[in-house]
């Protein structure tokens, strides 16, 4: 593997991707989705990479430094695309970057198992007069099917360097580095392409122009691929089950259930351990240090009760988030998510979307914010809008943290089943929301045809997976983490300011603080769902900032200082007693109502901000108001019916 060099990237500016570092030549990876581009990128750049947004978009582009022969180059991993005639924002980023023309060499990554599809993109790249080096992936898979391309012949036909590479084993990477470094000084361009004059009357449509390229592709394919019929593969056999009309959906449900088990059974102890560490040893050391410097009492209360509580909320949430994203990224890399798009296609069609919308909706179960960015895979603006409005109804892991506490409190023997039920409710709400939108504000939405490539099944590459999860976690800590921290600190300030009772600042019982008084004003609105209590109201108000902070807010309202094991038990006891009282002896119905309300009453601030950025304030406010009304009605209905049963 190539050496890795440190590189702090410049601020993004202009063009399709961040600006080039003046001293470093730029190399871009261009290819279809699922051709192993990211695995190759990781193998080439190692740890020296970072994710930046393409200018004016929320589309993440990975950029890194690659030691290419004797020179460092800036390597950019463009979003996968089948064509430079862009249909989605993702594809537009790739198209703009190629048209930008500030790239030293384009590495066209061709999939040996789908050569004709890959060569079409190469032909478009060549039309841009771009200097090209070709990297061919999946050659082993193609060979296993009796359809391995002749890499040498491909090089002779194309007239540019062609290297077979394997990002997993590292095979061919040195040869690729050599070819790229040579091309930087002596750029080679694809030859043999027909001229395509823009004003050619015979080629008036995109289709006719494309046909000229398809003809060229066919000629190349004839020269480099053996004429043999493809053998049925392991993936074909697996697909017969995983895509079948009878097993497809049950298997998908099973996979979802398994992911769910992972995020509950495995994540919960890890989350407890993380928060236990911050609230225990870290808090003790911080307290001891503060005592040593003997600052004012309010400062100690602020740092320990405000800042440290915020850090604890962020840190304890990391394992849940990391596990969820590891599961989603793993499923995507394995090739299974492409099948999910096929299996779920019909259901999504009923709400005006198609199978491709499944990816952002699934990511939503991890965190709504990246799920909104993931809608950029959808080609149509209206579809992106609808998917973006539905994403907040997918129950993110932050909400899961709330259900876990409530389910353990009120359903100690069936906690898992109850939480699973809330997830089913989340799916039902997504469908209901889609149907509502389609019959009201989005009557013009017509489902598009679904034509998707099914990549071969493969084991996810652990290092690539690890990097992807790591970059998600870092991004979470940076963005959502700072929101959560601010929210918890703001909470402390509101709790420190007395509203009545003549207390002094930072020495006031919570119920007499501004926070407590406001919450007491909100609480009666929760009476129809059997939850007229100011502490519950307070935690829900806090939840608008960030759902991760709900449990912490509840604990603060009860003034349960430590959230160690005994603290958690004490919190559960107190919540149980409160709800038993507010629900008039029907805590089961009221707690179910509370969980459903938490599911849908309001997206967090980070989600609202991202929605506003992508779709504008009116759609964001409209969707949030509709969701709130729905959540209020459902929670009320559940309590009113449940308490009479």
């Amino acid at each position: 593997m190539s050496a890795q060099h440190c590189h702090d990237g410049p601020a993004p500016a202009g063009g399709g991707v961040p600006a080039e570092t003046p001293s470093m030549p730029r190399v871009m990876l261009v290819g279809n989705p699922n051709v192993g581009k990211s695995t190759l990128f990781n193998a080439l750049t190692g740890a020296r990479q970072h994710v930046v947004n393409a200018p004016g978009t929320t589309i993440a582009v990975a950029e890194g430094t690659w030691r290419c022969g004797t020179t460092d180059v800036s390597l950019v991993d463009l979003p996968g695309t089948y064509s430079l005639i862009a249909r989605s924002p993702d594809e537009q980023v790739a198209t703009n970057a190629v048209a930008g023309g500030d790239c030293g060499v384009h590495v066209a990554v061709l999939d040996a198992t789908a050569l004709s599809r890959s060569l079409y993109l190469l032909a478009q790249l060549a039309l841009e007069d771009a200097p090209v080096v070709v990297a061919v992936t999946m050659t082993d898979l193609a060979k296993a099917r009796g359809l391995g391309p002749d890499v040498g012949a491909l090089g002779r036909v194309l007239g540019v360097p062609v290297v077979a590479v394997n990002g997993r084993s590292g095979a061919g990477l040195d040869a690729l580095a050599l070819a790229v470094s040579r091309s930087l000084t002596r750029p080679a361009r694809v030859r043999g392409l027909p001229e395509l004059a823009a004003d050619d009357a015979a080629l008036s449509t995109e289709l006719e122009r494309a046909q000229v390229l398809f003809d060229w592709v066919e000629r190349v394919v004839d020269e480099v691929l053996p004429a043999s019929d493809a053998r049925p593969t392991f993936s074909d056999t697996l697909d017969r089950v995983l895509l079948s009309p009878w097993a497809g959906i049950p298997v998908f449900a099973l996979v979802v259930w398994a992911v769910f088990q992972l995020t509950t059974v495995v994540a919960t102890p890890l989350m407890d351990a993380m928060s236990g560490f911050v609230d225990g040893p870290v808090a003790s050391v911080a307290g001891w240090l503060l005592e040593a410097v003997s600052g004012p009492a309010w400062l100690e209360s602020f740092l320990l009760g405000g800042v440290l509580a915020g850090i604890s909320a962020v840190v304890s949430f990391i394992p849940l988030m990391a596990l969820m994203f590891a599961a989603i990224s793993g499923l995507e890399a394995s090739g299974y998510l492409a099948r999910v798009a096929v299996v779920a296609d019909k259901a999504l069609r009923s709400i005006g979307l198609d199978g491709r919308a499944m990816l952002p909706l699934i990511v939503g179960f991890g965190c709504n914010v990246p799920a909104l960015s993931a809608t950029s895979v959808l080609p149509h603006a209206r579809q992106r809008l609808l998917a973006g409005m539905l994403v907040p109804l997918t129950s993110c892991t932050a909400r899961l943290a709330v259900y876990l506490v409530l389910a353990q409190t009120f359903f100690p023997h069936n906690a898992g089943t109850v939480v699973f039920g809330i997830y089913v409710a989340s799916v039902v709400l997504v469908v209901a929301g889609g149907l509502l939108a389609r019959t009201t504000v989005m009557r013009d939405l017509t489902p598009q045809s679904l034509v998707i490539a099914l990549p071969d099944y493969q084991w996810p590459h652990l290092r690539t997976l690890g990097r992807s999860v790591w970059s998600r976690v870092v991004s979470f800590v940076r963005k959502a983490g700072s929101v959560i921290l601010l929210a918890v600190v703001a909470l402390w300030v509101l709790q420190a300011i007395p509203a009545r009772g003549g207390h002094s600042v930072a020495d006031v019982p919570v119920e007499d603080s501004v926070y407590g008084v406001v919450s007491q004003g909100v609480a009666p609105a929760l009476a129809p769902m059997g939850l007229d209590d100011w502490r519950i109201a307070a935690s829900l108000v806090t939840g608008v900032a960030a759902k991760e902070a709900v449990v912490g807010a509840l604990a603060q309202a009860y003034a349960v200082d430590d959230t160690t094991d005994s603290g958690a038990v004490a919190l559960r006891e107190q919540v149980r007693a409160t709800v038993a009282e507010t629900s008039g002896g029907h805590p089961t119905a009221a707690s179910l109502a509370l969980m459903l309300f938490v599911l849908a009453y309001m997206p967090c601030l980070a989600t609202l901000a991202e929605q506003r950025r992508l779709y504008g304030g009116r759609w964001t406010a409209g969707a949030a108001a509709t969701s709130f009304a729905g959540a209020y009605l459902i929670a009320t209905l559940v309590f009113q019916v449940g308490s009479r049963l």
């Binding site: 089948y82 064509s83 005639i85 249909r87 999939d111 040996a112 198992t113 789908a114 050569l115 004709s116 599809r117 079409y120 898979l141 193609a142 099917r145 359809l147 449509t205 995109e206 289709l207 494309a210 046909q211 398809f214 066919e218 691929l225 019929d229 493809a230 049925p232 993936s235 074909d236 697909d239 017969r240 895509l243 079948s244 009309p245 497809g248 959906i249 492409a338 798009a341 096929v342 299996v343 296609d345 019909k346 069609r349 198609d354 199978g355 598009q448 045809s449 679904l450 034509v451 998707i452 490539a453 099914l454």
Partner: protein, 57 residues
């Protein structure tokens, strides 16, 4: 570009081009077709698959 022309172009870009040899390797949930073009596999929803004319080999 009209929606229809764009859909036709997209099919071709994905490898379903006039004259190409395809093999239906499976029928998935909701009537979607799984088609082999060489070593590549593509899934098409039922309605789209019905739009495509193919001669039996």
């Amino acid at each position: 570009m009209s929606t229809e022309a764009d859909a036709a172009l997209h099919l071709r870009e994905m490898g379903l081009r006039p004259g190409v040899i395809v093999r239906v390797v499976g029928i998935a949930a909701a009537g979607a077709r799984i088609v082999a073009i060489g070593a590549a596999r593509i899934a098409l929803d039922r309605a789209t698959a019905q739009e495509i004319e193919a001669d039996p080999a």
